[in-house]
């Protein structure tokens, strides 16, 4: 067991690193030395069964809570949900959040140096899956002395992991809250994802993934990928309300072409913002893991997979989500219930789209807090 404080700690005081060692991804290849970056809040109890694992979204990181700091000016991604007296009460729970395997915020990913070569992996990094991410997290939790997860929760790719946790480690999880996620992403989501990957790979600065030693990064491609991603995170109704057909208020980041709409300016900004903080290869690998996730993978059927679940599961759908439509989240809950799992479904009624799990705090709290506090031992 190795629990380190790594090089990034100077920027993010609470960030820790754990070397889980070698790792064999389920689809092949191998990783000799894997590190997970993580943060914790609260204290593990003597029974070591009050742990909560929070799982971040595609471009998120381990800073789920703790407010803003030098390394995290935007604050924690679930700040209004995690803290004393909040839905995830840090006076009750020992809360853990780690950057996923394949990520670029402290954990081993394609931008990490390949042992022996000292060169970043680039596309030599093996394809990793949602299950791989969960298995890596399990090793971290074991190292932290956690004996049982009172709760695992996350949205989107984090929701896929929350679900997979309940399937992969049935006796380790008491409650799971997958938000805006299903057992398998639909073809529209895969298609949008592929548009983004294609834009990254078409960027001449991508160089087959080996851009780390060059001056330029595939920023334009990553920005387009982010633009495509943002479209799937919002709803048509929400965009009408927020942007409508208004002309851009802020300066255009790109040459004008018959004027500029606010929605375009917004997308350009989001694209540029992500390029400044995220690794394009990580985007490829993590988005691919989202596409590839199928809860039934390795089992005979969805039913067999869901029948493994011992945890009580709350599936949370978002009415205006088109990446993981509420009807499909509901369907996943139904399948799990039919397979014998204690599965519940709650719905957040909002125009915010997929992103509601990162902004509609009141509705989110109302949806998940009763489930989390139900049967609480303390």
């Amino acid at each position: 067991m190795t629990l380190d404080q790594g090089a990034g700690a100077s920027h993010a005081p609470a960030l820790r690193y754990h070397r889980i060692g070698s790792f064999e991804p389920e689809l092949g290849g191998s990783l000799q030395a894997v590190t997970l970056a993580y943060e914790t809040w609260g204290e593990l109890n003597d029974a070591a069964d009050n742990a909560v694992l929070l799982v971040h979204a595609l471009t998120g990181d381990s800073h789920a809570a703790g407010g803003s700091s030098e390394g995290y000016r935007r604050g924690g991604w679930w700040d209004p949900m995690v803290g004393p007296g909040l839905a995830v009460d840090t006076e009750e729970y020992f809360v853990v959040c780690s950057n996923v395997l394949g990520g670029c915020s402290g954990s081993t990913g394609p931008a990490s140096a390949e042992p022996g070569t000292r060169r970043p992996y680039g596309m030599r990094f093996p394809v990793v899956t949602i299950r791989d991410m969960v298995r890596a997290q399990r090793r971290l939790l074991d190292a932290l002395g956690v004996r049982k997860l009172a709760l695992v929760a996350g949205g989107s790719i984090g929701g896929q992991q929350a679900l997979e946790w309940a399937v992969e480690f049935p006796d380790f999880v008491e409650k799971a809250v997958p938000v805006a996620a299903t057992g398998a992403l639909g073809p529209q989501g895969v298609g949008m994802s592929e548009i983004g990957r294609r834009a990254i790979m078409a960027d001449p600065d991508w160089r087959g993934g080996d851009y780390y030693s060059t001056e330029r990064r595939p920023d334009r491609g990553l920005a387009i990928a982010r633009m495509a991603g943002m479209m799937t995170y919002q709803s048509a109704a929400g965009q009408w309300e927020r942007f409508g057909r208004r002309p851009a208020g802020r300066p255009a980041l790109h040459p004008e072409f018959g004027g500029r709409f606010e929605i375009e300016s917004y997308l350009h900004y989001q694209g540029s913002e992500l390029s400044g903080r995220f690794d394009a290869n990580s985007y490829l690998y993590l988005s691919r893991a989202m596409d590839l996730y199928d809860v039934a993978s390795g089992y005979e059927s969805d039913e067999e997979a869901y029948s493994r679940i011992e945890a009580e599961v709350l599936f949370v759908g978002i009415t205006s989500d088109w990446l993981f439509p509420a009807a499909e989240v509901w369907d996943a809950a139904e399948k799990a219930r039919a397979a014998g799992a204690q599965a519940h479904y709650a719905e957040i009624d909002t125009k915010s789209g997929h992103d509601a799990f990162l902004k509609d705090w009141k509705e989110l709290t109302e949806a998940v807090e009763p489930f989390i506090s139900k049967n609480h031992k303390s």
Copy 2:
């Protein structure tokens, strides 16, 4: 009046060219010599009032009907709708379809040589609008001796033009059928469109639009734009049915990355197919015209614009359309009716999405044929 048979005629026997002369686009700039490529079917009657104008979609052309030929292996884009005894009966009507201003299938567009320079315009081509396209078409119809349009019909950007025809030239149009179009595209559509434009402009082979004299075209960028477009032309339900999460059956056009889904292979194929037949700059200009179209432009309000209409208008919505959602098409019909226009609404119930106007022939015929044949003089 100049009605020519141009250079492209050897490949498409029925294609004709008409020089409408100089043209002043409404947003500025000027074009010294504009040509429109067009085809016709049927005969103009003595009263010159049996003309039908069909208006093509974004990447369409003047070959609305007439089946497949050397230049049009895929046939006419409305073949099942146009012909003797069909919804648009060529024994009754004189049917005209022209390639739009700004297009690349015979009409003057950014790939055309700029008079005086003999260089293609590229991005020096002025921004053109839906209204410009309609005004250019009017000049063609005048040259053909048409005194009145018995009908103007089209889908998507063609639907925008059908609507604009009724607004811009009220006393020239008897019936208009805008399909899958509204008075103004929503921010989600504009956003998806911008993703495509950004991909084209990020392609190093685009060269600021001046790629015509080079060996390479911005094919990768245009392919990504097409992929984004295709996503908006289909529905989630339709894609589940058609592609699901099945692995690709045909060879991958790009390197594998953890497998390949059928939806990806399909998108790659569509992207590659368009790159082989369409000009990237035209894609920029035409998609921009779609974004910019606002029926109220130049008027005080939507109401003032719609109140100009003298034609009887049938708005056709498609239940699974997310580029121009049925609810927004219905809303446009309501606004037109409230403003005093004879506006009707019909809906095509299908999983085909926006593209239904180019494939769901039975449903489309049922929706529009009664409207077209109603009060027919013959």
